[in-house]
């Protein structure tokens, strides 16, 4: 079929609109990347310099070394991975229990979700006092547990509905076929929920990776995640925009890489439910 003028015009219009939207959203990212490789004099030049005169990787060495970016990267990875793993273990079991066995009826699952409705500011001071009482301020343990508290309700809520959507007779047939409850869960329920599990794992990782508020309150010098390092570069009158951009780039890379790596699960997982 030969496309009519109207159809191809509409398609062109749509492509243009998509380009416009992408441009608006990706421009800051592009600017961040460019700034990260600019030498110091070109950061805030007027008129703006769109491509650096020579590519300067000094921002990265400065950010990683002098500003503690390397330690920040390691600490962020440790906190985000630790929190994601722990949240997944707790969340997957809890969600299966809520979804399959209606543990606690509607009340319990909703109470768990309600944790997310609480503004973080409301609990900041109590949580600070809480961790101080245990002597856990400025520790990986505190940060990982704190993030787990926020991740688990979200994971529960998403996976609960996902597990509910899996036809229970599939697990029942496994039981009749010789499996224990545990085997039926591992062999049938978990693989079927895999897209959703991957999606919530990624979102948990991103949340823990980005989190700033509690990281600032609960840590000092022993644990410094990347988001906490950024504002320290803006103190004083010599703001190191190149290093800031470099750290921001370093912070963005793992998340972007993970998203691309897990892309094929995300589409199905984020549609929250509806397998078959």
């Amino acid at each position: 079929m030969i496309p009519t003028f109207g159809a191809s015009f509409r398609r062109g219009l749509r492509a243009f609109a998509a380009f416009l939207v992408l441009f608006v959203f990706l421009c800051p990212v592009l600017w961040m990347l460019i700034t990260a490789i600019k030498p110091p004099g070109e950061w805030l030049n007027s008129p703006p310099i769109f491509w650096p005169s020579n590519i300067d990787l000094g921002n990265f060495t400065e950010a990683l070394g002098r500003w503690g970016g390397f330690k920040g990267l390691v600490d962020s990875l440790a906190v985000a991975s630790g929190a994601t793993l722990l949240s997944l273990v707790v969340g997957v079991f809890a969600a299966y229990s809520l979804g399959r066995f209606r543990t606690g009826g509607e009340t319990l699952s909703f109470s768990i979700l309600s944790v997310l409705f609480m503004p973080p500011v409301a609990v900041a001071v109590p949580m600070y006092l809480f961790w101080r009482a245990f002597g856990l301020l400025d520790s990986f343990t505190a940060l990982i547990l704190q993030y787990t508290v926020f991740n688990v309700p979200f994971i529960c809520w998403v996976l609960k509905s996902f597990f509910e959507d899996i036809d229970p007779t599939m697990e029942e047939s496994a039981l009749v076929n010789g499996a224990t409850r545990w085997r039926a869960f591992v062999d049938i329920a978990v693989p079927l929920a895999r897209p959703a599990i991957v999606a919530v794992a990624l979102l948990s990782f991103i949340f823990s990776w980005n989190e700033f508020f509690f990281a600032v309150i609960l840590t000092r010098a022993r644990v410094t995640t990347l988001p906490v390092i950024l504002p320290t570069l803006m103190e004083g009158h010599d703001i190191r925009w190149g290093s800031i951009a470099a750290i921001a780039t370093i912070a963005a890379l793992p998340v972007i890489a993970l998203t691309f790596a897990l892309q094929r699960y995300l589409v199905r997982g984020l549609s929250f439910g509806a397998i078959r």
């Binding site: 036809d167 007779t169 599939m170 029942e172 047939s173 496994a174 039981l175 009749v176 076929n177 010789g178 499996a179 224990t180 085997r183 062999d187 049938i188 693989p191 079927l192 895999r194 397998i275 078959r276």
Partner: protein, 372 residues
């Protein structure tokens, strides 16, 4: 090999009691159909036998073993589910081998059994496909394959035919029957379709609201329904029902009088009625009726209301006041709508029921051995 005995079964869902003191015997090597409308408890019953639902009271025996307290995996049954319950993330091969892998059977033995089971069901060419990539009929074979590969003593099939296209059903009935006979296994099949049950079963147990209405061979149920419920439920065409009262006819012979008809009542039934009194429902199947142009003794006055042509047979529709009656004939009569006619049911094809209790009124060759 295994017979199954259910004793004193009690089961409720919340406030709804499904079974109370329910008993059933399934014979070794038979194909028993559990037949009933939705909500009759038939699926619950096989789930109880499988151990998928907890029992409140009673016991279940498979062969000599008391399995009441055993987990499903220790009951040694092969089961298929209504939606087949195949594992969509695994290949056909892995679906078939799953029960053997879980039970840690040697790889060589698994491979051998997968090959022979697949060959037996004609699904050898599908082994490396995903479940989503095969048709409904093929999925049904895989589900059956996954049950028989375990070589169990007892098969439980939950609505195995219902999800199939009408064109497939007839051939699948035949295959199921043949398979069960080759395996020589005890099979319990749940169905809501009485045609499936009549076609394949050795015996049928009719359930309604957790009560066993009748158990017997398909012939028994068709020819001698134990009550009004079974009479209504069994048969491709609904049985015709008329109600009437007992009276004495000429020469003292007992008669059943109703609106527009009077039928001779068999003496055996009339004798039992002294105690029963009240109204009687007489039933006769559309396939056991003659249509006459004039009134004769034992005929029922009706008005022609139309015709349904079904090829090898025709269904004639009649009105009797508010009620409708139908008859099945080999040749269409071409009766004019609104014209009068008389139906004469074959005297030995009349079924009499107590209107109040719905129970069949015993006739002379009554054998209560099959019905309970």
């Amino acid at each position: 090999m295994a017979e199954v005995r259910l004793r004193g079964i009690r089961k409720s869902y919340g406030p709804v009691q499904v079974f109370d003191n329910f008993a059933l015997d399934i014979r070794d090597g038979e194909l028993l159909c559990l037949l009933g409308p939705s909500g009759s408890g038939k699926s619950t019953l096989i789930r109880l036998i499988a151990g998928l639902e907890p029992l409140e009271a009673g016991s279940i025996f498979i062969g000599p073993r008391d399995v009441t307290a055993l987990e499903p995996r220790h009951r040694h049954i092969g089961m298929t589910f209504q939606g087949y319950a195949l594992y969509p993330h695994l290949s056909v091969r892995r679906n078939l081998s799953y029960p053997l892998q879980v039970r840690k059977i040697a790889d060589a033995e698994i491979a051998r059994r997968v090959t022979s089971t697949a060959a037996q069901l004609g699904i050898g060419h599908l082994l490396d496909r995903r479940i989503r990539q095969i048709s409904g009929g093929e999925q049904q074979r895989v589900a059956i394959g996954r049950a028989i590969i375990q070589e169990p003593e007892l098969y439980l099939l939950d609505e195995p035919i219902s999800n199939l296209d009408a064109s497939l059903r007839e051939s699948v009935r035949g295959e199921l029957r043949r398979l069960q006979q080759t395996l020589g296994a005890t099979m319990v099949m749940v169905t809501h379709d009485q045609m499936d049950a009549l076609a394949v079963a050795d015996r049928i147990a009719v359930l309604q609201q957790g009560k066993l209405q009748q158990i017997g061979t398909p012939r028994d149920l068709y020819r001698r329904p134990a009550n009004l419920f079974v009479a209504r439920f069994i048969g491709r065409l609904r049985m015709n029902f008329l109600s009437g009262r007992v009276a004495e006819g000429e020469g003292g012979a007992p008669m059943l009088h109703g609106d527009g008809f009077s039928l001779a009542l068999p003496v055996e039934i009339a004798r039992r009625l002294d105690s029963a009194r009240g109204e009687i429902v007489v039933g006769f199947r559309p396939e056991a009726v003659e249509i006459l142009p004039t009134q004769v003794a034992g005929a029922i006055s009706v008005v022609a209301a139309g015709e349904l042509f079904h090829g090898e047979q025709t269904i004639e529709l009649f009105d009797r006041g508010e009620e409708q009656v139908q008859a099945m004939l080999a040749v269409p009569l071409g009766l004019k709508r609104g014209s009068s006619a008389w139906l004469r049911p074959a005297p030995d094809a009349l079924h009499f029921f107590d209107r109040e209790t719905g129970e069949r009124l015993a006739d002379k060759d009554a054998t209560r051995e099959e019905t309970r």
